[in-house]
């Protein structure tokens, strides 16, 4: 076996129209899965058209709106129908950085693959079908607004970011989506749904040559351009918007989320970004997750009732760590978290704990290779950030205790910290 790839291999081809195609063989699996994604998410609201050179500003929530409307077909049917016909299961999602269209099936895979590529390459937006969608998306936005976890998360982002579009809800607002027009959707489509800005990932018990041949005969060259799309962003200062943000909501117990905002020096990508991700995750393992001294202390004193949720999200132009939990004594928990960070900065991380965390991460990574959807979606998301997910094992081995210690001192800083709180009110 080569290096630390655990028996996995990813094939890659860049097509003449600039689109990247990836394939991972999965022998013995029944299901096949494909995800077709564009590097276009809710954060992309202002850009220069690669075709006209014009500067464009679009309404908040447009990437997600476009995702909904992609399913509309010229003949009046929706793209789900064809998938259902061949027995496939299809869906789509939008996040801050990308929009992805996907399907899985146990039969007729290539028919599905042709359909996936075709429908995403055939937009059909009309006044009528755009209007119809507004009521549906308004209900989707309201569904999220009723989720305390979502409120807690977005408030954290709003406290961290001053100018960055991370402040804005992925689906936009009920007000902003009412402004969206078919013309605006086409402008975004022609820019971001160019093969130059897209990637396809296929996984399953299939042949690479067959995958490539189906893709090549189906894919269109419309809207292709060379180079990358110039996205216009206001410069985000290396400080937080506000230290604390509070809201009341009908819940049973107070919730908190701490955010540590990444100190940016230009864009981050590739191995540099991946190392940031891995070192941060290891720090979170050692300080806050199950098995840590702080977790034991908080749990045994009934200050928290389940381990704190911790994660690091990183992308080209932003990064942040989130630590959240529910507690009846939020202030005390916050204080203990601060003390814990200070202690480890002062006394250093423990070598033995560090090695154990790495060992544990390897086993978990091996297990994650069993999830087709998980690998495919992560691979594409990472690829847009210039990262090769298959290198995870190798990078993990390379990371040293010193790397983590340095990261701990640089990233977890008081002046880049925000706290989001939700306090219970009676229903």
């Amino acid at each position: 076996m080569n290096n630390n790839y655990f028996g996995e291999k990813v094939y890659h081809k860049k097509l003449p129209n600039n689109m990247n195609v990836f394939f991972m063989p999965k022998e013995g699996f029944t299901k096949k899965y494909a995800v077709f994604a564009t590097n276009f998410g809710s954060n992309d609201l202002e850009f220069i058209s690669p075709h006209t050179g014009e500067q464009v500003r679009v309404n908040e929530g447009i990437a997600h709106f476009l995702e909904h409307k992609m399913f509309e077909q010229k003949d009046g049917t929706d793209a789900f129908a064809k998938f259902a016909e061949i027995g496939a299961n299809a869906n789509a999602f939008t996040n801050f950085d990308m929009t992805a269209y996907l399907f899985s099936t146990t039969e007729n895979f290539y028919e599905g693959l042709e359909h996936l590529i075709s429908y995403v390459q055939e937009p059909y937006f009309t006044q009528e079908n755009v209007e119809k969608e507004k009521g549906i998306i308004a209900q989707e936005i309201k569904m999220y607004q009723d989720s305390p976890d979502w409120i807690l998360f977005f408030n954290t982002l709003r406290a961290m970011y001053v100018e960055h579009n991370n402040r804005i809800d992925i689906a936009g607002t009920v007000e902003s989506i009412t402004e969206i027009t078919p013309e605006e959707l086409y402008t975004c489509y022609n820019t971001f749904y160019s093969p130059s800005n897209m990637a396809l990932f296929v996984i399953g018990d299939l042949k690479w040559e067959e995958v490539v041949s189906v893709v090549e005969k189906t894919v269109k060259d419309d809207n292709r351009f060379d180079g990358v799309i110039h996205r216009l962003e206001k410069e985000e200062p290396n400080r937080v918007m506000q230290k604390e943000i509070k809201q009341s909501f009908p819940i049973s117990i107070p919730m908190f989320m701490i955010g540590f905002k990444e100190h940016m020096n230009g864009e981050q990508k590739g191995e540099v970004l991946m190392k940031k991700m891995i070192t941060t995750e290891i720090i979170l393992d050692l300080l806050f997750r199950k098995g840590s001294i702080l977790n034991e202390e908080l749990y045994n004193e009934s200050l928290i009732f389940s381990p704190m949720d911790c994660e690091y999200n990183g992308s080209r132009d932003y990064g942040y760590t989130l630590i959240s939990a529910e507690s009846r004594q939020v202030n005390l928990v916050l204080e203990k978290i601060t003390q814990c960070l200070e202690k480890f900065k002062r006394e250093g991380l423990d070598k033995q704990d560090f090695e154990r965390a790495k060992k544990s991460r390897i086993g978990k990574y091996i297990r994650s290779l069993d999830s087709m959807e998980g690998i495919a979606n992560s691979y594409v998301a990472y690829q847009f950030q210039g990262i090769d997910l298959m290198e995870y094992g190798n990078l993990l081995f390379e990371i040293s205790l010193e790397d983590c210690q340095k990261r701990l001192e640089e990233h977890f800083k008081e002046n880049m910290k925000v706290v989001s709180l939700i306090e219970p009110i009676e229903g």
């Binding site: 117990i253 001294i293 749990y299």
Partner: protein, 426 residues
């Protein structure tokens, strides 16, 4: 893939699921209890006290570190309500040894044996401190039901619908019963649980199954007591009248839940008719409800039908603007009438079959899905393979669905009303 199922002790059945595509192995142990008010709260607590400490690993931190040493082996404990049973589960997921260059199989199985059979004790009973901590955790969890609004609305619907039946018992138990639990009485219940439950052990993945079985005999040898009786669910409850209730909460969107009696369940041969009925009506973008309520009338984002497979209940759930409640109930009602009239096209039936079949086939590629499928088959007393389930689905006709529709009766409508209109008035 050949599934082997056998009795390995008086109350214990072992299922071996060999599969070679995965890099993950699973061992799961499930204890089956009758769902009853006397036991429900204690049973909800027991697995969590057990995962707090064992004889060799006295604290949860020591347990976590041990699991990290076993290459990040994941321990999951669970308590769930399935039909009128309460199922206590202990599950370990671990990386296949061929990628590790180290044998961990016996360590993994003996660890699971410790969790179940060698709890950390003080004075011959559970550790008081651990019990108190876990009581607080369970208390918060019971109180936290209102946090997930859609879940809360469904729980309320079930509570109203099955008020006088075991299924109406709350999954996690009751605060007033929790207060009465001590390290002594909980330990008594634990002893009863390990000796009188019918137990399933499932092994899945690529491993030396012979050895694994020996390790189970050696490390997970349960006391053999008299098996507790579990009554089958009564699924023929005729609602005397339509029950309607609502509550108001300061939220943006109303959550509607409608509960139905279906007159059949997964123990019966025609269960798959009901499954297909629910798909045609309310699962996925091709379903009647999605097309009419969402696509045609733009009244919701999500709408779906789901089944309680053993109690034979169906629920339709959606999130809507509160002022549209009556309109939505009317539209849903119309679609049920369509089903009753047999207005189901060949295409609808075919698409529903394909969806169900694809979903069953896909189960083969999911580590947890496969394990859950075979466990559920045991629970239903069916022991079907995935292929046999698919064959049953293929044979279903539109006439079968029409027949199914005849036994579906609406029982309860629960509405969690939002206050969104009030905001507009301000």
């Amino acid at each position: 893939m050949i599934i082997e199922r056998k009795q390995i002790a008086k109350n214990v059945c072992l299922t071996k699921i060999p599969c070679y595509q995965f890099k993950t192995n699973v061992i799961a142990v499930y204890f089956k209890r009758p769902l009853c008010r006397e036991e429900v709260t204690a049973n909800s607590l027991i697995p969590y006290v057990l995962k707090s400490g064992t004889r060799s690993w006295q604290t949860e931190t020591k347990i976590s570190k041990h699991l990290q040493e076993l290459y990040g082996t994941g321990l999951g404990v669970s308590v769930s309500k399935t039909g009128e049973m309460q199922i206590l589960g202990f599950k370990l997921s671990f990386a296949a040894e061929s990628f590790l260059g180290e044998n961990i199989l016996e360590d993994v199985i003996s660890f699971l044996g410790e969790i179940i059979l060698q709890p950390y004790l003080e004075d011959g009973v559970f550790c008081k401190n651990y019990v108190n901590i876990e009581k607080e955790v369970l208390k918060e969890s019971i109180l936290a039901k209102i946090n997930d609004k859609a879940y809360y609305a469904k729980e309320r619907c079930i509570e109203i619908m099955c008020k006088n039946e075991p299924y109406g018992i709350a999954e996690e138990g009751y605060l007033e019963d929790l207060e009465l639990l001590t390290e002594e009485n909980l330990y008594v219940q634990y002893k009863k649980m390990i000796s009188s439950s019918s137990v399933d052990i499932l092994l899945e993945g690529q491993m030396d199954f012979e050895k694994a079985e020996q390790f189970i005999q050696k490390h997970i040898s349960l006391p053999e007591g008299e098996k507790v009786e579990i009554k089958e669910e009564n699924i023929f409850v005729e609602p005397s009248e339509l029950k309607e209730e609502s509550e108001t909460m300061d939220i943006e969107q109303g959550k509607l839940v409608i509960g139905y009696r279906t007159g059949r369940n997964a123990r019966m041969d025609d269960y798959y008719d009901l499954l297909l009925y629910s798909i045609v009506l309310g699962v996925g973008a091709q379903s009647k409800l999605f097309r009419i309520v969402r696509e045609k009338n733009s009244l919701c984002y999500s709408i779906g039908a789901s089944l309680e497979r053993l109690k034979g209940l169906m629920f339709i759930q959606t999130g809507i603007e509160s002022k549209n409640k009556n309109r939505v109930i009317e539209l849903i009602g119309e679609q049920l009438v369509e089903m009753k009239k047999g207005n189901i096209t060949e295409e609808e039936l075919l698409l529903a079959k394909k969806m169900a079949i694809n979903s069953y086939r896909s189960t083969k590629d999911s580590v947890s899905g496969l394990c859950d499928f075979y466990y559920a088959q045991g629970l239903y007393g069916k022991n079907l393979t995935i292929e046999q389930a698919i064959e049953k689905i293929e044979r279903i006709t539109a006439e079968d669905l029409k027949k199914t529709a005849d036994s579906i009766i609406v029982d309860t409508i629960f509405f969690l009303k939002g206050t969104e209109e009030d905001h507009f008035e301000q």
